[in-house]
């Protein structure tokens, strides 16, 4: 590709030569001669340079806020500028573009400001001929996946499901069986083992009584993400908090040997069947990386969710900013179907201001009142709602859920 310099020099040499001819001044032609010679030389000596680059990432998974090195191995026989195109939340810590004089390998430090799935590695190359009359450009697709995981929020205690499942875990079940948590006393029956005899109770009653225990079982937990709408202020948003909370909760429940599933209920519906183990944790976090708000005005109800995603007696832990009626109706529908539902409200107030005009202020107050009414609807249905805003932590919000469930009487 010709640079503006080539056209400019051609024009100047033509001007000087024409003026020299027209005015019969050889000095002007002498002015134009070097320009003409430069243009002719550049065109005659034109040769496309050799340019190639390969890209390698130091790691393909990092945490939010961490740095990772991107290695550029450039093969070239002339001075080449290399520019690495990146998505907005991924920044280069240093120079970009880089200049390479010959074959060389250099590293660029990338900083991931936000969680997500990225594809760094689209590279733009530019080189010039010796006289900078001709420009050679190339765009190479060397994209390689980079997953930036959200930094997990700290959690002290988890909301406990009301019902457990049949496999071994860390939850104390309501049923009686083999375990270590004392449940009850009953009279000795043939077949009971001697070590379960409660000798003190037996002595008091004059006949053998045995201890009964609560077994430890696992539970099913479904993380329900409200992805219809978000409140955003600059780079911070309710969706970021939702994803961080979901990642932390999934990690903790999976560590307790519970089965964890995921439903992202919004413009785009995503779900993961409940499962256990480290593989499930990676599946959940990878699914969270794809979370984004997609505006959609279609009405959605629970029928669009596959049945196996919502096993009976599962704890449905919803993370929602309570901005859209559709998710509220879906959660109340779940409660009506006798699911154990808990709502953690990701407060949008830190991202929204009241406005200046009196009309804006009235609208803001009405909006807050509507939100309070929505919370009251949940509480009438027996669904605890804990608010997580700027003032508190996620751990504090979960403690509120725990104390609500301790004192509430659940009608079954």
């Amino acid at each position: 590709m010709a640079t503006p310099k080539l056209a400019g020099y051609t024009g100047l040499s033509a001007l000087a030569l024409f003026l020299g001819l027209a005015l019969r001044l050889p000095e002007l032609a002498a002015i134009g001669a070097p320009f003409a010679l430069a243009v002719g030389g550049a065109l005659l000596l034109e040769r496309a340079p050799r340019m190639n680059v390969s890209v390698a990432l130091e790691r393909d998974r990092i945490l939010e806020g961490d740095d990772v090195e991107l290695e550029l191995d450039v093969r070239t026989d002339t001075r080449t500028e290399v520019y690495v195109a990146l998505q907005p939340d991924l920044r280069v810590d240093g120079e970009n573009p880089l200049a390479f004089e010959r074959d060389d390998t250099r590293t660029v430090r990338l900083n991931a400001g936000r969680w997500g799935a990225y594809l760094p590695g689209r590279v733009f190359l530019r080189a010039y001929d010796r006289l900078h009359m001709l420009r050679y450009e190339a765009q190479l697709d060397r994209r390689t996946p980079l997953k930036v995981y959200p930094r997990a929020e700290s959690i002290r205690t988890l909301p406990r499901p009301l019902e457990t499942q049949v496999f071994g875990g860390n939850q104390v079940a309501r049923a009686k069986g083999e375990g270590i948590e004392f449940a009850d006393l009953r009279p000795f029956a043939p077949g009971d083992v001697v070590r379960r005899v409660n000798w003190r109770a037996s002595a008091r009653r004059g006949q053998l009584w045995v201890n009964e225990y609560h077994p430890e079982r696992n539970a099913d937990v479904i993380l329900f993400l409200d992805a219809f709408a978000e409140a955003r202020s600059g780079e911070r948003s309710t969706l970021d908090r939702t994803v961080r909370a979901a990642s932390a909760l999934a990690s903790r429940y999976l560590r307790e040997k519970d089965r964890v599933g995921l439903i992202s209920f919004g413009g785009v519906l995503n779900w993961l069947l409940p499962s256990t183990g480290l593989a499930q944790q990676y599946r959940i976090v990878d699914s969270l990386l794809d979370s984004r708000i997609v505006l959609n005005y279609a009405w959605r109800n629970l029928d669009v969710i596959p049945r196996r995603t919502l096993p009976p007696q599962a704890l449905v832990l919803a993370l929602s900013p309570l901005l859209d009626e559709r998710s509220t109706d879906a959660l109340l529908d779940l409660r009506a179907r006798r699911f154990d539902v808990v709502v953690v409200e990701i407060s949008p107030f830190p991202f929204v201001s009241a406005g200046r005009s009196p009309t804006d202020k009235v609208a803001y107050r009405l909006w807050r009142l509507r939100r309070a009414a929505t919370r009251a609807r949940y509480e009438r249905a027996g669904v605890p709602v804990a608010v997580w805003g700027d003032e508190g932590s996620l751990a504090g919000a979960l403690e509120e859920v725990k104390s609500y469930r301790r004192y509430a009487r659940t009608g079954r």
Binding site: T10, G11, A14
Partner: protein, 142 residues
């Protein structure tokens, strides 16, 4: 360049305009404005030669100077800053340009002039036009 009393002001105006165009073109990174600045400089020199009325022995120096100005200006437009090696190259190119101009003038002075020189001049101008046309055609195709 020293001009007669009556032409000093017009020459100064053209020189000032050329400088202004150069500064504006470099600040705004506009190639055509930079080219206009260099064309004005050549035009001003043409006016000076007409006013002088005799052969200017400093023409090669002026050729080298305007070539260096062109190189530096276009280098500033294309890249984010000239690196050390490039400045040295430009200085050498300026000397080479002055040498080419000197050689050209020497050949022109040694030749008998007349029809041969006319033909060479017309051929050079035609070649320059052909290059411009080819560049325009190539740019349109892209």
């Amino acid at each position: 360049m020293v001009a007669s009393e009556g032409l000093r002001e017009p020459f100064a105006a053209v020189a000032g305009l050329s400088m202004l165009f150069l500064v504006v073109g470099l600040l705004g990174r506009w190639g055509p404005v930079v080219q206009a600045a260099l064309a004005l400089a050549i035009g001003q020199y043409a006016g000076y030669l007409l006013e002088l009325g005799e052969f200017d022995s400093l023409a090669p120096l002026y050729a080298g100077g305007i070539f260096v100005a062109g190189e530096l200006a276009y280098d500033a437009l294309e890249s984010r800053g000239a690196h050390g090696g490039r400045v040295g190259t430009i200085a050498l190119l300026g000397l080479a340009a002055a040498g080419v101009a000197l050689l050209f003038l020497g050949v022109a002075a040694a030749s008998s002039g007349g029809f041969g020189v006319e033909v060479a001049g017309v051929a050079a101008a035609a070649a320059a036009l052909a290059i411009v046309a080819r560049l325009a055609w190539t740019a349109r195709e892209r």
